[in-house]
């Protein structure tokens, strides 16, 4: 019951935040230098004065601001994100067809970074001061400091250009006409390099955090109690240290979801991965702002959803959650 209340509270909060982002979007269009209509039309509209006035009318730009806002919010909520005059298609359609590719990439990278990062953190913490700890620490330090696009490019250089092991471009072999399992394998083959590229930075984050958190936990009083009970070292680490140490990592994973989606813009650009990130890059190149703002709303929505899921997972792991934040 209390968990339901907690989840309901988080859902409401998420909706409020989303509404705030929609309003922010609206304000951004209005605050941008120049005519909102030209912002929405992008470069496409700049030349044609008749087309612009038609746009202004369509969006109610001649009406008072609060009415415009109401129209805008209503449109977004009903999934009408406007029209990309560059691509000559509705924004919502353009976005939706790109969602699966991005989910595949970010989802894989998320799991990879979390699992490997936590494992490395545990390894380092349980061998603190030894060479394996130092190695993990140094690796984490490096990937924490490396720009993600550069990791991607160097990966291509090594694994595609030099070794020829992995494809460097796209999501599947163009003109391959593969189906079923063969197609899935082909996609997987294309996924390896971008997913690892995207995962490395966050892997470093989780590894550092898990290590620090484990080291902090093993000095807690309840761990001393566990030792005094004569429990085996392995059980103490697994049940007492790790379970408590993982809580801040879960919180961090939720917070970092936004960064993962941000990183996917760069990675999709490097690997020509046909997802939302790649689309974002194209919109920037073509100054297709209406589409870019659509990307902004969609990615925000994804982050809010991930945060909600993390909160729910957290509420199952930590019994104290009902006491409030």
């Amino acid at each position: 019951m209390q968990r339901l209340q907690f989840i309901a509270q988080r859902v409401v909060k998420g909706i409020v935040v989303l509404l705030g982002i929609i309003i922010l979007n609206f304000l951004l269009i209005r605050m941008a230098p120049g005519d909102p209509a030209s912002v929405m039309a992008g470069e496409a509209g700049a030349a044609d004065e008749v087309f612009m006035s038609q746009l202004r009318k369509e969006f109610g730009l001649d009406r008072p601001l609060h009415e415009q806002l109401a129209v805008y919010v209503k449109n977004v909520v009903t999934l009408d994100l406007g029209y990309s005059y560059r691509q000559q298609r509705p924004v919502a359609d353009l976005l939706l067809e790109r969602v699966p590719a991005t989910l595949l990439l970010t989802g894989t990278a998320f799991l990879l970074s979390l699992v490997v990062g936590v494992l490395l953190g545990i390894l380092a913490a349980s061998r603190v001061g030894q060479w394996s700890d130092s190695l993990v620490t140094v690796i984490a330090l490096f990937f924490y400091a490396t720009p993600i696009f550069w990791v991607g490019l160097m990966g291509i250089l090594l694994f595609s250009v030099t070794l020829g092991w992995l494809p460097s471009f796209g999501m599947y072999t163009v003109g391959g006409k593969l189906t079923g399992a063969a197609f899935a394998l082909d996609v997987l083959h294309h996924l390896i390099l971008p997913a690892i590229t995207l995962a490395l930075f966050h892997m470093a984050v989780y590894a550092r955090m898990t290590r620090a958190s484990m080291l902090e936990m093993r000095d807690q009083d309840f761990v001393r109690t566990a030792h005094a009970k004569g429990l085996r070292e392995g059980r103490i680490v697994r049940i007492h240290v790790l379970r408590n140490a993982i809580l801040p990592v879960i919180t961090m994973a939720g917070v970092k979801a936004g960064y993962l989606i941000g990183g996917s813009i760069v990675v999709e650009t490097v690997f020509a991965w046909p997802g939302i990130g790649r689309l974002a890059f194209e919109t920037v190149m073509q100054r297709d702002y209406n589409l870019l703002l659509g990307v902004f709303i969609l990615t925000s929505f994804m982050v809010i959803a991930v945060n909600l899921i993390t909160d729910i997972i957290y509420s199952f792991v930590d019994p104290r959650i009902e006491l409030g934040q």
Partner: protein, 284 residues
Amino acid sequence: MTGMEGLRDFWQRYRRNKGAIVGLAVLVLVLATALLGPTLFPGNPWDMAGAPFQKPFDPEFPLGTDTLGRDILMGIVHGARVSLLIGFVATFAAVSLGVILGSVAGYYGGLVDDLLMRFTEFFQTIPSFVFAIVLVAIFTPSIASIVAAIAIVSWPPVARLVRGEFLTLRTREFVQASVVLGRSSRHIIFVEILPNAVSPIIVAGSLMVATAILIESSLSFLGLGDPNMMSWGFMIGSARTVLRTAWWMSFFPGLAILLTVLALNLVGEGLNDALNPRLTREGR
């Protein structure tokens, strides 16, 4: 812990972290490059200096030339200035904003705190890099818009940190003693609380410079850099298409970013060890 003695203490503790010493050395080198580079390598990094596609380790062009025959070493030297400038200015802006909002929320508490924290959480939920792209794209890329965008997406963690510090320090007995003595809020905030909250702010700030440089490089990699300034991210972005034939054009600027960011992170960790002695790994 102030004065000369405190400084010596601080240095003693900082010195114990070897990585932090290396980081400091590299950072000093990068800073020197940024300050003196344009004097040592006079000229315009955008100018064609030699034949395009020259390989590195050549006496004239140690790091080679790019697709338009520009000297890559020269680009990196000039780019250091942009990266550090944007990194430090954006961090300064973000930290200032964070400290102001965080201290107001933490000191006054109640409804003010509630509102400010909802506001902060809101900005923390927005995917920051996407938001930065939107801001720079809509307000057209320039040093000012890039700095503003990075600052706008970076301040929330500082605000939360400072608020947390203020919340705990506010209930500390020496702050209550100050209230009882009849001190003003201004005195309490600036003399009693803030000096005790400075250490974590400095550490967070030093780490944030690193993050800001990474964001800047990503923005300019995507073509959202200031079109008048040579930057590391831009160099990699424009060399991306010729990666297969000319690896050095992407490799060296990337290495410059890596070393700078790594150095900043190491310095940040060293500061953390030196300023928050209780949290050092040594005691474990």
